[in-house]
C-alpha cells in the first residue's frame, strides 16, 4: 500500500455562528500520482474540502474536529506561516471561475511567477522562463504576448489555460481542481479536461478533482468519493463505482450524467425520494454524533 500524499481524517466543519454542519467526518486519501474524484451536487461541501486543505475556509466556518495530513504532517497543528509555506510549495488550485481567479489590474506574467519568486525564492528571470515554458505546455501559441496581457484581453478558455499553467509551475505534488471546466463553453471544456490530464501525467502530480459530473469522473479518476450534504456516502475505485454503485444516491448521480456523445438526451433528475432518505440518514447520524459528544 502506497503512503497517501494527502490524508483527510474525520474532518468536520460548521458555520460557527449558527452551528450548521458543513462537513461531517470526511475522510479521504489521495496517493501519489492518483486522480481522486470528489463528486456531489452543488452545495454538498466540495469546495469547502478544497479550501480546508488550503487553509482558506471563510471566516464564518470553523473546523470542529479532524486532521489534514500532508506528507506525514498535520496541517491543522501548524502555525499559520509554516502551513502557508508548505501549502504554497506542495499544492496548487485550479479554480472554478477563471474570471475571479486572476487580478484584472495585473499582467498575467507576474501573476504566474508570484508563487515561484515568493515561495520558492526564484529569481525573477528564472521564474519568467519557467512561466513561458508552461504557457507553451498548455498550448498557448504566443506565450510572450500572453505574459504581457491583462486578464480581460484573454478569452475564458485562455485564462483557464493560464491558471492551469500557473498551478503546475512550482511542480506541486497535489493539485486541487475545483470544477475547473464548469464556467467554460462545452467545446472548451473537453480541451481543458484533456489538458489537465495531460499535464498531470507529465508532471506526475496527484489530483483531487472536484466535479458534479460523473462523466468526467469516468474519464479521468482512479478513485471517487461521493459527497452528499457534507458527508461521504460512498468511496471506491472509479471502475467499481460505475459498474456497481453501492449507494442509491451514487446510482442516481450516474444516471443524471450528461453524455457528451448524446448531448440532446434529457437528463434524469435525482429521485427526490433518494434525497429524502439521505437527509433522514444524515439527521440520524448527526443525532448519534450529538449523543456521542454529550
Amino acid at each position: 500500500m502506497t503512503e497517501a500524499f494527502l490524508s483527510i481524517e474525520n474532518l468536520s466543519a460548521r458555520v460557527a455562528a449558527i452551528g450548521t454542519p458543513i462537513l461531517r467526518s470526511v475522510s479521504l486519501k489521495v496517493i501519489p500520482g492518483e486522480t481522486h474524484g470528489l463528486v456531489g451536487e452543488s452545495g454538498a461541501g466540495k469546495s469547502m474540502i478544497g479550501k480546508a486543505i488550503m487553509g482558506l475556509l471563510p471566516r464564518a466556518i470553523e473546523i470542529t474536529e479532524g486532521e489534514i495530513w500532508l506528507e506525514g504532517r498535520n496541517l491543522l497543528d501548524m502555525k499559520r506561516g509554516e502551513r502557508r509555506r508548505i501549502i504554497g510549495a506542495q499544492t496548487a488550485i485550479i479554480p472554478q471561475d477563471p474570471l475571479t481567479a486572476l487580478n484584472p489590474s495585473r499582467r498575467i506574467g507576474p501573476q504566474m511567477t508570484d508563487r515561484l519568486t515568493h515561495i520558492l525564492g526564484w529569481a525573477e528571470r528564472k521564474a519568467q522562463v519557467r512561466a513561458l515554458g508552461l504557457l507553451e505546455e498548455v498550448h498557448i501559441r504566443d506565450p510572450k504576448r500572453v505574459m504581457h496581457s491583462y486578464p480581460h484581453e484573454l478569452s475564458g478558455g485562455m485564462r483557464q489555460r493560464v491558471l492551469i499553467a500557473a498551478a503546475f509551475a512550482a511542480e506541486p505534488k497535489l493539485i486541487v481542481a475545483d470544477e475547473p471546466t464548469t464556467a467554460l463553453d462545452v467545446t472548451v471544456q473537453k480541451q481543458i479536461l484533456r489538458l489537465i490530464a495531460e499535464l498531470k501525467a507529465h508532471h506526475e502530480t496527484s489530483l483531487l478533482f472536484v466535479t458534479h459530473d460523473m462523466g468526467v469522473v469516468a474519464k479521468i479518476c482512479q478513485r471517487v468519493s461521493v459527497l452528499f450534504s457534507g458527508r461521504i456516502v460512498e468511496q471506491n475505485e472509479a471502475a467499481s463505482i460505475f459498474s456497481n454503485p453501492g449507494h442509491a444516491y451514487t446510482k442516481s448521480l450516474i444516471q443524471a450524467t450528461p453524455r457528451y456523445d448524446r448531448p440532446d438526451e434529457s437528463l434524469l433528475p435525482v429521485d427526490p425520494a433518494i434525497l429524502e432518505a439521505l437527509d433522514r440518514e444524515i439527521a440520524t447520524h448527526d443525532r448519534q454524533q450529538g449523543t456521542a459528544d454529550g
Binding site: 488550503m54 482558506l56 488550485i93 479554480p95 475571479t100 487580478n103 495585473r106 501573476q111 508570484d114 508563487r115
Partner: protein, 278 residues
C-alpha cells in the same frame, strides 16, 4: 452601451475646463492683466468690455472698489485649487487608507474604524463645520481642516465596501497561499482595483471642497473679503447685483463650471472604468 458615445464627450468637456482652471491657478501671475487686490476708485463698477461705458483692459469689468474682476477670478482659481487639492486630497487619503484597512483586514480593525465612522456621521455636517471653525478660528487653514475632518468618512465608507468586495476575490486568496503577506496582498492585489473608485470619489470631493470653501467665504468664515476668492466675490456682488451684475455672475459661473466639471469628470471616470473591472 449608448453611453459609449457620449462618454468621451463628458470626460473631454469637463477635462478641458479642469485643465483651464488648473492652468489659470498655476500661472495666475502671468495671465492676470491686473493686480487682483489693487483698488482704483476712479474705475469702480466698470462693466465688461463689450458693454458701453467700459474701459479697455478691464475685460470683465471692475468691482465696487475698482478691482479687476478677471484678475480676481484668476487668482480665485488659485484658492479654489488649493482647497480642492489639499482638502479633497486629505479627506481622500485619510478616508481611503482607513477604509482599505477596515475592508481588507476586517475583524477588530473594521469594528473600530466602522464605529468611528458611524459616530462621526451622526454629527450634522454644517453644524460640525461651524463648530470646528469656531474652535480653529476663521481662515483658509480652518476651512481645509474642517473639510478633511468632516468628509473623510465619505471615502472611508465607500472604499471599505470596495475593499471588502475585492478581498473576496479568488486571486486575493491565492496571493495569500503563494506566500505574499497580508499587507503586501492588500497593496498589490486589492489596492490597484480600488484606485478607479478612489479617483471617482476624489473628483467628486474636489468639487464639494471648492463649493464648501466658496460658501464659507460667502459667509465670511474663510479668507477675508479682501482676498480674491470666488465665494467672497459672490458675496460682494450680491449687494450690487442691480447695477453691476458682472461682479456676481462671473465668479458664480466659474464656480458652477468648476464644481460641475469635477463631478462630471468623476462620473465619466466611473463609466469609463467600470466595464473593464466589473
Amino acid at each position: 452601451m449608448v453611453d459609449r458615445h457620449k462618454l468621451p464627450m463628458r470626460l473631454w468637456l469637463s477635462g478641458t475646463w479642469i485643465t483651464l482652471f488648473v492652468a489659470a491657478a498655476l500661472f495666475a501671475p502671468f495671465i492676470a492683466p491686473h493686480d487682483p487686490l489693487a483698488q482704483d476708485l476712479l474705475y469702480t463698477n466698470l462693466p465688461p468690455v463689450w458693454i458701453s461705458g467700459s474701459e479697455p483692459g478691464y475685460y470683465f469689468g471692475t468691482d465696487s472698489l475698482g478691482r479687476d474682476v478677471l484678475s480676481r477670478l484668476i487668482y480665485g482659481a488659485r484658492i479654489a485649487l488649493v482647497v480642492a487639492v489639499i482638502a479633497g486630497g486629505g479627506a481622500c487619503l485619510i478616508g481611503s487608507v482607513l477604509g482599505l484597512f477596515a475592508g481588507f483586514f476586517r475583524g477588530w480593525t473594521d469594528v473600530l474604524i466602522s464605529r468611528v465612522v458611524d459616530i462621526w456621521m451622526a454629527f450634522p455636517p454644517v453644524l460640525f463645520a461651524i463648530l470646528l471653525i469656531a474652535v480653529l478660528g476663521t481662515g483658509l487653514h480652518s476651512v481645509i481642516i474642517a473639510i478633511i475632518v468632516i468628509d473623510w468618512t465619505r471615502f472611508c465608507r465607500v472604499i471599505r465596501a470596495e475593499a471588502m468586495q475585492q478581498s473576496r476575490m479568488e486571486y486575493v486568496e491565492s496571493a495569500l497561499v503563494v506566500g505574499r503577506g497580508r499587507f503586501g496582498t492588500m497593496l498589490v492585489e486589492v489596492l490597484p482595483n480600488i484606485i478607479p473608485a478612489i479617483g471617482v470619489l476624489l473628483s467628486l470631493e474636489m468639487g464639494i471642497a471648492v463649493i464648501v470653501e466658496a460658501i464659507l467665504s460667502f459667509v465670511n468664515l474663510s479668507l477675508s473679503s479682501d482676498d480674491a476668492t470666488w465665494g467672497g466675490m459672490i458675496a460682494e456682488g450680491r449687494t450690487v447685483i442691480y447695477h453691476a451684475w458682472w461682479i456676481l455672475v462671473f465668479p458664480l459661473v466659474a464656480l458652477f463650471l468648476t464644481v460641475l466639471s469635477f463631478s462630471q469628470f468623476g462620473e465619466g471616470l466611473k463609466e469609463r472604468f467600470d466595464p473593464v473591472l466589473k
